[in-house]
């Protein structure tokens, strides 16, 4: 994934903070990537200005102007044509009534990892937190967990940050399997699973935060406690009816975290290749 040095950047004209732009500059600059910029808005000048900023860092940029409501289609088209390593955009948690948020749609539809940018803090020398669901049973979920950990480790390594992990355990359920009836037991079990996973991946995060969920509550709590600057999470990317009914936890975590979030998608593990082996 990251080997693929093609980045897709979405900038919204209305977004004043331009965090996404700065982040993109940093990443693209590090990875020497090419950037395809999709500018949401009608002001060509501002778009050009953004392009100029990027090009000034030696990044080649391809510009496309698009209307907001055509964004998803466009992105899908691009990703169909060529594979991108990363999509960077500003986190936009606004929702239109009961419809899925734009971010949500992106996470569900697009096959590439997405970086939701919220802050302009440098990741350098900070904390990168990997949020995993270590109690999951199916192989897809476990592979996703692995990816999240691996990518988080990669980024931590690359940015000189500390790697931490967070696991949100489900609350106790009366009447369920005996283990699931007690919070302590659940957390014990989660700890064990995580330890096993970490030892398998040969990773040693500095801190492991195992707590009682739901994930929408715990991950932001852990993130805040650890003062993470980047949180890497996975998403099941449920779309369609399932997505409408159940939704995706990742999408609901997005608004509650106030740092950058890198969302990996389930099922694409084969595209995740350890990039920097140093």
């Amino acid at each position: 994934m990251l080997l693929n040095k093609r980045l897709l950047l979405v900038l919204d004209q209305q977004d004043q903070a331009c965090n996404a732009l700065q982040r993109c500059r940093l990443i693209a600059g590090r990875l020497q990537s090419q950037v395809t910029l999709i500018w949401l808005g009608d002001s060509i000048e501002k778009a050009e200005a953004a392009v100029k900023q990027l090009e000034s860092d030696g990044i080649s940029v391809a510009l496309h102007i698009a209307a907001r409501d055509k964004l998803l289609k466009l992105l899908a088209k691009f990703l169909e044509r060529e594979s991108f390593g990363l999509l960077i955009k500003s986190c936009d948690p606004r929702s239109k009534g009961f419809m899925t948020t734009v971010d949500g749609q992106i996470l569900r539809e697009l096959p590439c990892p997405v970086l939701m940018v919220k802050r302009d803090l440098l990741w350098q020398d900070g904390v990168v937190m990997a949020a995993v669901n270590s109690l999951a049973n199916d192989s897809y979920q476990r592979r996703l967990n692995d990816d999240v950990l691996k990518v988080a480790a990669q980024i931590a390594l690359a940015t000189g940050s500390t790697l931490t992990a967070a696991v949100a355990c489900p609350s106790a359920m009366m009447g369920a399997d005996p283990v699931m009836q007690s919070e302590e037991l659940i957390q014990q079990k989660a700890h064990q699973a995580l330890d096993a996973q970490l030892s398998r991946l040969q990773l040693q995060p500095q801190d492991v935060a195992v707590g009682e969920g739901p994930a929408e509550y715990w991950i932001p709590e852990a993130g805040a406690k650890q003062a993470a600057r980047l949180v890497v999470i996975g998403t099941r990317a449920r779309g369609g009816l399932k997505g409408a009914l159940i939704g995706n936890t990742a999408e609901r975590i997005l608004p509650r975290l106030d740092c950058d979030i890198l969302v990996l998608r389930i099922g694409l593990s084969d595209q995740v290749v350890p990039v920097l082996q140093q």
């Binding site: 359920m173 037991l185 096993a196």
Partner: protein, 794 residues
């Protein structure tokens, strides 16, 4: 076993995640949908009408009723009728004013819709005649002569005619101070084909007859099934008032317990919404409210409240641990999902099994109750947490919960003695003693009515006073049992048939509880006597068929059918107590076995007492069938959920004790098992199983952590136990006030329900841990690395 339980329960356990996410990710849409549904169903619910039907009360596949339905067309007016007695307070009925009143009343009744006009009988109807024997033979005429003019001579003539008509004791009282109009009713309105609306009919009887004609000198007395139902429906308003009182009490006590406004109002509101939905759905499905199913809404309310209180309590505990409103609600939802759903599913499916009883009223009740339970799942398990996640439980409640958790409740400490071996043994011994006492006393439980009149109403209710008036002053009671004698075509009046029926009627006089009987034989005997100058020595069935035929040249309606293959014997009973009916049916069966043949068969039964006998028989077996099914379903679900026979015993045993004691209570209070009271015990099981499941689930969560039983139990008491105790007490207090209801049926239910709420609570709090202790329940869970992880590690 494990595989099976996993298979059957996987949907329950697996659905939790789906439900939780769906509800909490879409809180606003969910609320809107619920609100819309509530409005719609509420609009339906207010349109619900009482729906009582005579046929619904009788077991239609019982042989008695089948025989009746087979011959229904030939049995005029024996199904359903009302008697209106018009009485004078001073003097006798032979005054012009009285006769005029009686005439007007007869006419009024004639025009009430639903009345079988052809069979309407009073001395003012032309079908009531007098006969007399003269030297020339018979003479006769209508009791009220065509030249009646209200003069003293006319009145004297009427008196004479009445004496000659044989109606004294039937349509005219023995003391000549009142007269009856017999009003047979159709089950369906003849013009519209719609079911007869008993409430409307009852009101018409009141306004058109009683209110209009009752005066200083004239009193009106009305009896009949239709009137009972009408009075019950009228009383529904009072029943509703008592429900409302119970609701208010619950409201107040719940507030005092939780000190949280939202924690009080929201569960109550959700419970009320459950009732609204239930009524609305019933209306949508085309059902009405049966006076005997009046309690189901309250039951739904009670069960909903106990679940609601559990959830609110758990939310309070979560809040005490620092969760915000959304988090607390969500965690509580997850925590209580399985026990709540299991309890409600076992209730719901348990009630559905009541459908095996072949009495429509009970089947309708089964549907109403199951619907209600299903709705509770939606309103109290789903809607309630969502609402609480938006409103929160309040500061006071959170603070109290925190303080409570930190304190050591000495009160609860006392109860934990039952979780120790010595205490457990004591509790179980006491329980066994009570079981024995209950079984012993419960043997006295009677099926059917124990008193005369209408036991659903108070002995001093207007209906029962009217009934007593009629029984005291007339020779024909309103308790009628009809035996249908069937013969080959044209044989109903043969000598063989009539002489056998004559013997049968004499046989009947020997049976305790039989007042008198009437059949074609009586007509033949009297007319034969009349044809012979009225000589008593001729009042028998002539062996000469020609004489018989002559004696039957005029037969009043209802004593034979047109093809002369059916001869009803109408038996008037002193009362319709179960013992009387049992004895009667047994004796009749014995006569039928001895004397019946291919050609002459004695079939039971029609008439209101006939149906009651059939119903009593069905109820006798149904009683145990019903309990068996309910316990089977509840037991199975518990077994599958907890996967342990010992757990099953812990939960079911207290319930069984409650059921047995409830029967003993019914026997002690003189409450007979009837259609109305039959389901009560089964419903009680539904109420009680909730407590047991919640307590046991909570207890188990501590046991899996390795806590010793006593400590685990203490913790359980401080949390779930508190809710159970509160719910049991509150509902009991709310219901105990029903003993003051003017509807005796509701008062009886009040007693039974109070007992069941309290005893179920005690059973869950005391007996359950005692049994758990003695049976060494408690799975200790060890945290083993899940096999999948182990594989991967390798």
């Amino acid at each position: 076993m494990n595989k099976l339980s996993r298979l059957l329960l996987a949907p329950i356990k697996g659905s939790e995640e789906f439900a939780e996410r769906f509800l909490f990710h879409h809180r606003l849409p969910v609320l809107l949908v619920f609100a819309a549904l509530t409005l719609f169903l509420g609009w339906q619910a207010v349109q619900i009408r009482p729906d009582a039907s005579f046929v619904k009360m009788i077991p239609t596949s019982h042989p008695y009723v089948e025989n009746y339905l087979k011959n229904r067309d030939d049995l005029a007016g024996l199904g359903n009728s009302v008697r209106v007695a018009v009485a004078v307070r001073e003097g006798d009925i032979f005054t012009a004013e009285f006769q005029q009143t009686l005439q007007k009343i007869t006419d009024e009744l004639f025009f009430i819709p639903g009345v079988d006009r052809a069979a309407l009988t009073s001395i003012w109807t032309p079908n009531v005649r007098w006969t007399e024997v003269t030297e020339e033979g018979f003479v006769g005429g209508p009791v009220i002569p065509p030249d009646y003019d209200g003069s003293p001579e006319s009145l004297e003539q009427i008196k004479l005619n009445i004496l000659r008509s044989g109606q004294v004791g039937r349509l005219v009282a023995n003391d000549f101070r009142s007269a009856i109009v017999q009003v047979p009713l159709f089950d369906k309105h003849p013009d519209t084909g719609e079911k007869l609306d008993y409430q409307v009919l009852s009101q018409q009887l009141e306004t058109l007859i009683r209110d209009r004609y009752q005066s200083d000198n004239i009193s009106i007395h009305i009896t009949g099934f239709a009137k009972i139902v009408g009075d019950l429906i009228e009383g529904a308003a009072q029943v509703a008032v008592f429900f409302a009182i119970a609701l208010l009490i619950t409201l107040v006590l719940l507030y005092l317990y939780s000190r949280s406004i939202t924690g009080t109002l929201v569960p109550l509101a959700c419970s009320v919404i459950a009732v609204i939905w239930q009524l609305g759905l019933l209306k949508l499905l085309g059902y009405g409210l049966d006076p005997y199913s009046m309690l189901v809404p309250f039951l739904v309310f009670a069960i909903a409240v106990s679940h609601g209180v559990q959830i609110v309590n758990t939310i309070a505990l979560e809040s005490a641990r620092g969760a915000d409103r959304w988090l607390a609600a969500r965690r509580a939802f997850r925590a209580l999902y399985i026990p709540g759903l299991t309890a409600l599913l076992s209730d719901g499916i348990g009630f559905v099994t009541l459908m095996v009883i072949e009495i429509r009223v009970i089947q309708d009740l089964a549907i109403a109750a199951s619907l209600g339970i299903a709705v509770i799942i939606l309103t109290n398990l789903f809607l309630l947490p969502v609402i609480m996640s938006l409103l929160g439980i309040g500061e006071t409640a959170t603070r109290r919960a925190r303080e409570a958790e930190q304190k050591q409740h000495s009160g609860w400490q006392l109860l934990t003695w039952f979780a120790t071996p010595s205490g457990a043994r004591a509790a179980v011994v006491v329980a066994l003693l009570m079981l024995l006492g209950g079984v012993y006393q419960g043997q006295k439980l009677q099926i059917g009515d124990l008193d005369s009149g209408a036991p659903e109403l108070r002995p001093d209710s207007r209906y029962n006073l009217d009934n007593r008036f009629i029984t005291q002053h007339y020779s024909t009671s309103s308790d009628i049992f009809v035996v249908m004698v069937s013969t080959p075509k044209d044989q109903c009046s043969s000598f063989a048939t009539l002489s056998l029926v004559d013997r049968f009627q004499y046989y009947l006089t020997n049976i305790a509880g039989v007042q008198s009987s009437v059949s074609l034989v009586d007509v033949s005997k009297r007319v034969t006597s009349g044809l012979n100058e009225g000589s008593l020595k001729w009042r028998t069935v002539s062996r000469n068929q020609l004489v018989i035929n002559a004696s039957l040249s005029y037969v009043p309606a209802g004593l034979m059918n047109p093809s002369c293959s059916l001869l009803p014997v109408i038996i008037f009973l002193d009362d319709h107590k179960a013992a009387t009916l049992n004895n009667l049916t047994r004796q009749i069966a014995s006569f039928a076995a001895e004397y019946g043949s291919d050609r002459i068969q004695f079939e039971m039964a029609a008439g209101n007492s006939g149906f009651e006998a059939a119903t009593n028989e069905v109820i006798g077996t149904a009683q145990y069938q019903m309990l068996a099914w309910v316990y089977a379903v509840v037991g199975l679900l518990c077994l599958l959920t907890f996967r342990s026979l010992k757990t099953l015993v812990c939960i079911i045993a207290p319930l069984a004790l409650t059921s047995i004691l409830c029967q003993a209570l019914m026997a002690s209070f003189g409450i007979g098992v009837k259609v109305a009271t039959l389901p009560v015990i089964a419903l009680g099981v539904g109420i009680g199983v909730d407590y047991g499941i919640y307590i046991y689930s909570k207890l188990n969560t501590y046991l899996v952590q390795g806590m010793p039983l006593q400590e685990a139990y203490l913790n359980t008491l401080k949390t779930t136990g508190k809710s159970v105790a509160f719910t049991g007490l509150t509902l009991a207090i709310g219901v105990v006030l029903w003993v003051f209801s003017p509807i005796k049926f509701q008062a009886d239910m009040g007693v039974l329900l109070t007992f069941m709420f309290l005893w179920n609570m005690l059973g869950a709090l005391v007996l359950l841990p005692a049994l758990a202790c003695l049976l060494n329940c408690g799975a200790k869970a060890t945290v083993t690395t899940p096999p999948e992880v182990k594989d991967v590690v390798k």
